[in-house]
Amino acid sequence: MAEPLLSVRNLVKHFPLPHGVIDAILRRPPERVRAVDDVSFTVERGKTLGLVGESGCGKSTLGRCILRLYDADAGEVRYDGVDLMGLDDAGLAPYRKRMQVVFQDPYSSLNPRQSVGKMLLEVLDVHGIGTAGERHRRVIHLLTQVGLRPTDAQKYPGEFSGGQRQRLGIARALAVEPELLIADEPLSALDVSIQAQILQLLLDLRASLGLTMIFISHDLRVVRYLSDDVAVMYLGKIVEQAPTADLFARPQHPYTLALLSAMPEVGGVSREAIAVEGEPPSAVHVPPGCRFHPRCPWNVARCVEEEPELKELLPRHAVACHVAEDRLA
């Protein structure tokens, strides 16, 4: 098997909370948000990894650490064999061109005072792509590629609808011809019929450009539709990871089961509902043992005492759960 395009190992990113004078006097220990807490996975060239979880589970932070928009505290991000964590800005520049991101809110990630054409030209300019004439042609090509009109280059972001803005976000990401596209909830802000348009566009582009993708979403239905592999995150950790078909056919972790039963499907049989009580705890006060145990219907004594490791319990299917492990043993 060829070396994976991206390999993340034991990645950790904590955000310190403000620690004031009074906290120091009272000798309160400094607190940290444990956004990403020891996460490992690989993505092979041309494949799509779906990263699923609820808000606050660390999936977006993880995406940003890979792009080095955040500097991780520990761990390793290897891209095409090179450890990105060790690179300085200059060394990172070529990799910034090879990896691009599409954000959830296309409006806040576009400059309202810059016309679309200028925005795209600037991207090409910064990365030193093509001559002036080629750049203009490339802008037109990009716009048509994402289903916009060449004349849209003169317009400003405010003149576009939400779906069109997401098309702009995608055009900007594609401008530098990346290999890896990280899509961070690209559909969440959109209406159902528009979601399907953008999803279809991403699928078409993936096929025609041979993109490798990390698709971050809270929606298992969408993730199932376009991912080769799925990783389910909870409070900064991956709790289950498997090839898509396998994960949906034989989900093992109670949290995955809960997510599945929380997402009613059209035409689907209603699954045996796994009712999860309570709400996710904050990533500052992470529960001891298994992070999911306070909400878990299967919770046994061992779950409180010992944190389960992510282990390959079935072929290529990793689960971090004591109960699932005992059952499959």
């Binding site: 779906g163 997401q166 159902v192 019929s193 979601q195 399907a196 539709y225 009613p264 689907g268 709400e279």
Partner: protein, 337 residues
């Protein structure tokens, strides 16, 4: 038990703006039966929220109900004086909103907001007990302590639970829920939806659920009205609607949701919803519709019966089972969304 509790007839809502009058709701008619779960489905701007707001009389000026009637338990709410409307709103019809943070009063405690809705004249101690009981019913842990909390001290899911407690305080016969779970996380969404359906049975309420989530509709409601551009375009029992959709927009919506079957291609609807100010006479969906003919644009299309308890606003119902004659618009070329 098909006794109508709410009959909406030819409801119209208009909102004057600088650009012209926005026709938010354009002749909407439906009935909801006692104890029934009814869904209004549609995308943003389809008029589903405005329909609900009109039912409870919460259209903000300069917007206004421009015509039609909303008959609830024999009374036309549209023509009711404001004072009587307040009485009906308290005990008959209540609405919970998408964003509980803005719907709750930030400077009142949970207890104050619940007891405010309880009937006046009851002794304060009794009111406190009722508030605790209500909080327990909506699944708030440790309700005695939560009485003194303010909205900002609660999580999103808890806020929506408190909203439900307030809504249930006067034991309404009809609950309108406008995208009640949209702002919440997935597992919390499921909790709140389950809770609402349980409470609905317990209290014997009818429920109008406004949503864009077809999965939720499929799994939990009795009948569905699909809205597009201020009109109901299709109305049917849930199973019937999903098995035999009889309007191109409904077909498009169902085709837009990624399904378990990865081999089934997505069939997105191309283009965008129409401008709500400037309508032609014909079908507002025609520009995005693969089955549209000249006839669709020429005349107004009525909501017509197409089966038992099944209505559609499409004149090409008989042709919908065959593949569309042409793709609605090319996905690559002319832009949509």
């Amino acid at each position: 038990m098909n006794e109508p509790i709410l009959t909406v007839d030819n409801l119209r809502v208009e909102i004057p703006t600088r650009r012209g009058v926005v026709h938010a709701v354009r002749g909407v008619s439906f009935t909801v039966n006692r104890g029934e779960t009814f869904a209004l489905v549609g995308e943003s701007g389809s008029g589903k929220t405005m329909t609900c707001r009109a039912i409870v009389g919460l259209i903000h000026p300069p917007g206004k109900i421009a015509g039609g009637s909303v008959v609830f338990q024999g009374q036309d709410l549209v023509r009711l004086p404001v004072r009587d409307l307040e009485r009906v709103r308290g005990s008959g019809v209540v609405m919970v909103f998408q964003d509980p943070m803005t719907a709750l009063n930030p400077v009142l405690t949970v207890e104050q907001q619940i007891t405010e809705t309880l009937s006046r004249g009851e002794p304060p101690l009794f009111q406190r007990d009722r508030a605790i009981e209500l909080l327990r019913q909506v699944g708030i842990p440790d309700p005695e302590r939560r009485l003194g909390s303010y909205a900002h001290q609660l999580s999103g899911g808890q806020r929506q639970r408190v909203m439900l407690a307030i809504a249930l305080a006067r034991q309404p016969a009809l609950l309108l829920a406008d995208e009640p779970t949209t702002a919440l996380d997935v597992t919390i969404q499921a909790q709140i939806l389950r809770l609402m359906l349980t409470l609905q049975k317990e209290f014997g309420m009818a429920l109008i659920l406004v949503t864009h989530d077809l999965g939720v509709v499929y799994q939990s409601v009795d009948r569905v009205a699909v809205m597009y551009a201020g009109q109901i375009v299709e109305l049917a029992a849930t199973a019937e609607l999903f098995a035999r959709p009889r309007h191109p927009y409904t077909i498009g919506l169902i085709g837009s949701v990624p399904s378990a079957d990865r081999n089934r291609l997505l069939t997105p609807i191309f283009g965008m919803p129409p401008d709500m100010i400037d309508f032609g006479r014909g079908c507002p969906f025609a520009p995005r519709c693969a089955w549209a003919t000249e006839e669709c644009v020429d005349r107004e299309i009525p909501l017509a019966a197409v089966g038992a308890e099944h209505w559609s606003r499409c004149i090409h119902v008989d042709r919908l089972d065959s593949a569309p004659p042409r793709p609605a618009a090319s996905p690559g070329g002319v832009s949509g969304g």
